[in-house]
């Protein structure tokens, strides 16, 4: 996942009553938080600013405003495409106070020694973080797929300032998870008119000239691997860490499809995928969840199709760079604890993402919202986005069903391969073919 630019949000239906409600509610919440979770009130002393660098995926102004209100902390976002996040963390770590990074990036960032391990004893809700990140399992004990950069592989450091990852959970965590999701193909059910169940449909001749794939090599090649595995032509040891031979075969498959005119376009940016789908250029393509929502908001039918082979998942989290110390470090911990305390979780859940601590988020959502977004139940009433736009009417069911069904069907995780250098060269061959 990269360039995941969040759709612009405007508070469209900001009525006076609503403002009052929110204010009262958040005031109550603020008091509650201080009473019960005992946040240290560092912010009272002086105005503090946190500069968060990361992809645009969860950089919402609403979260910044709420943080200001609850914590007195001014949040400043630096929005970067994911490749630039890595670049920034590796070359200019002092330019931010908190890094909003994806887990796969860590393989490139941690060896630079620019980040610090976070002390899990200072994370209030640490014990309640979804075990995908802390144990590598689902809450019912089933193991989560380990292909690619599964978060558990890079979640812990052996010591605070280590440059390598720990095999077992330790006291030092690299990232505290914020958002994650399971990606699949988006389709136009109205044009296709039949059920789509497998990844290999992306290369089905039926959709010649009407398919698209994303042109971010490390993710595009994994979607291609899902397709290749599904056709049965290639088997992989680890789709997230292919051998040279596996890369060659995958690229050969893509080149053949391209030469036959299978692809209408390759997209790189969130909005490009929305336009391709909404304008009818493409009927089946790699897509990200909020892009599907956006197409639907435009009145065009679009499904985020669950497939038999499973999902390609990604996850992001907040990390603290090495240079942050003293009061600022305390504020970082305070902000992270606040992030996990529920309001943000509910906000992100309503965007269709998943959040790290489920219980606290649930407390901030209505039963109907929780049922629709997390449990795969039919909506009882209208489902409304955090900005007040209606997303679904009563009776609608989320594509792919409940949290456990979706996250339980993850087949691989976004990753950086050992053969990264070779893969990028081969990908350029595919683009030039």
């Amino acid at each position: 996942m990269a360039n995941r630019i969040a759709p612009p949000l405007a508070p469209k239906h900001l009525t006076r009553r609503r403002v009052l409600q929110t204010t009262l509610y958040s005031a109550g919440l603020a008091v509650g938080q201080r009473l019960f979770t005992g946040f240290p009130a560092v912010h009272a002393a002086e105005p503090v600013m946190l500069n968060i660098a990361g992809t645009g995926v969860n950089q919402y102004q609403q979260i910044a405003a709420k943080a200001k209100e609850d914590l007195g902390v001014t949040i400043q976002y630096t929005s970067l495409v994911s490749d630039d996040v890595v670049k920034r963390a590796a070359t200019q770590p002092t330019s931010f106070d908190l890094l909003d990074s994806e887990y796969w990036m860590l393989a490139k960032i941690i060896p630079t020694g620019n980040m610090r391990g976070m002390d899990v004893r200072r994370i209030t809700n640490y014990e309640r973080i979804v075990p995908i990140f802390t144990k590598g399992t689902l809450p019912d004990g089933r193991a989560v797929a380990r292909q690619g950069t599964a978060p558990i592989k890079v979640s812990y450091l052996p010591e605070e300032f280590a440059k390598t990852f720990a095999a077992e959970p330790t006291q030092w965590m690299t990232l505290i998870p914020t958002v994650y999701n399971a990606d699949t193909l988006g389709i136009r059910p109205d044009v296709i008119g039949r059920s789509i169940e497998h990844w290999h449909e992306l290369l089905n001749a039926e959709f010649r000239g009407k398919a698209a794939i994303l042109n971010i090599p490390s993710i595009g090649i994994m979607d291609a691997a899902m397709v290749a595995e599904s056709t049965g032509t290639i088997t992989y040891g680890d789709k997230g860490n292919m051998t040279k031979e596996e890369i060659d075969k995958t690229i050969a498959l893509l080149i053949e499809a391209k030469k036959q005119g299978q692809f209408r376009a390759f997209w790189k940016e969130f909005n490009e995928s929305v336009n391709l789908m909404a304008a009818g250029e493409v009927v089946i393509q790699s897509m990200w969840s909020p892009a599907v929502t956006k197409v639907r908001q435009m009145g065009v039918p679009c499904i985020y199709q669950p497939l038999k082979e499973g999902y390609r998942a990604w996850a992001a989290g907040l990390g603290i760079p090495r240079h942050v110390t003293g009061t600022k470090l305390d504020v970082c911990y305070e902000f992270i604890n606040w992030y996990l305390s529920g309001w943000v979780g509910a906000f992100l859940n309503r965007q269709g993402y998943y959040t790290a601590v489920l219980e606290t988020a649930q407390a901030h959502m209505t039963a109907d919202e929780w049922g629709y977004w997390m449990e795969g139940k039919p909506a009882q009433g209208d489902i409304v986005s955090p900005t007040g736009d209606k997303i679904e009417s009563a009776g609608a069911i989320r594509d792919g069903g409940s949290f456990w069904t979706r996250m339980g069907s993850v087949a691989c995780w976004n990753s950086v391969m050992d053969e990264d250098r070779y893969m990028v060269r081969k990908w350029n061959e595919f683009i030039a073919a």
Binding site: V81, D83, D84, V86, K87, A90, T91, A107, K108, P111, T112, G209, N215, P217, K258, F263, R264, A265, F266, W267, K268, N275, A279, G280, E281, V416, D418, D420, R421, V424, R425, W427, N428, E429, I431, A432
Partner: protein
């Protein structure tokens, strides 16, 4: 003494600016192009030819350059023809300076918006359900939409021509305005037709303008990675795009090597052009 120093003082500011913002970066890029790199260590000072060997030993390089050069040739020919015709019309067929100015400004209108907007504007026009296809369908001329209109080499060429014709037109227009009208009068008085005047008087006198315009267009098209991506649907390779991909994977040394090769190719093209036309003499 002072008068001897004067010329040096006069060129000093430009020299400093060029040294700081042009020569120095190029030197750094040259240095980096010989560096080694690994996934976890971006720049390893070394002297290796591996990056250049990679560039020249890959068939992708040649294929990519071929595609880019083909675009260059096509776009150059179209913009030259269009730019020359437009400039000719403005310079010789519009009689008053005021109208020349008004029409000239009209030509610059597309430049009032950003390059991205000008590019993206083609998408709803050329798309499968775009204006052109809708009209063709409405007139009963076609049942199925024309697929090659968008996300194709055609679309990329349309984009380039739209974006860069003015770059060709302006220097040619400028050259035409500087032609002494008496020369043309003399040609007409000697019995030359308009066509003969054009071929034997105006074209030779506009060579410098055409060369400058060509340099603009060739340099921009050779290095482009945005237009080709947006209008080509990401499916067409260009040298600039290959460099971009390497940069985004933090592979700085091979990107630098690729950039140096591109720079050399463009410099060679410009030197060749300047060999054919002595711009300095013509100005």
């Amino acid at each position: 003494m002072r008068s001897r120093l004067n010329p040096y003082l006069q060129v000093a500011p430009l020299t400093v600016v060029l040294a700081g913002f042009f020569v120095l970066p190029i030197v750094i890029v040259i240095m980096v192009s010989f560096f080694d790199y690994q996934t976890y260590q971006l720049l390893i000072p070394a002297f290796t030819l591996q990056n250049y060997i990679d560039v020249f030993s890959s068939s992708v390089t040649y294929r990519t350059y071929l595609i880019t050069l083909r675009f260059c040739a096509t776009v150059w020919a179209i913009t030259l023809l269009l730019g020359f015709t437009l400039a000719y019309f403005l310079a010789f067929h519009i009689r008053t300076l005021r109208w020349q100015l008004v029409l000239f400004l009209l030509c610059t209108i597309p430049f009032w918006t950003s390059i991205v907007i000008r590019m993206i504007a083609w998408i709803p026009l050329l798309g499968r359900q775009g204006v052109v296809n809708t009209v063709l369908h409405g007139l009963g001329l076609r049942d199925t939409p024309l697929e090659w209109l968008l996300y194709s080499e055609f679309a990329v060429i349309v984009g380039y021509v739209h974006l860069y014709t003015l770059c060709m037109m302006v220097p040619i227009f400028n050259a035409m305005m500087r032609i002494d009208r008496a020369v043309i009068e003399a040609a007409v008085d000697s019995g030359a037709s308009e066509w003969q005047t054009l071929c034997h008087v105006i074209v030779p006198l506009c060579k410098a303008g055409m060369t400058i315009g060509s340099i603009f267009v060739l340099a921009v098209v050779m290095g482009d990675f945005v237009t080709i991506d947006v209008l080509g649907g990401g499916q067409i390779a260009s040298v600039g795009k290959a460099i971009m991909t390497e940069l985004s994977y933090l592979q700085f040394p091979p990107a630098a090597a690729n950039a140096m090769v591109l720079l050399m190719v463009v410099v060679c093209m410009i030197v060749l052009l300047l060999r054919i036309v002595d711009v300095r003499k013509e100005l």
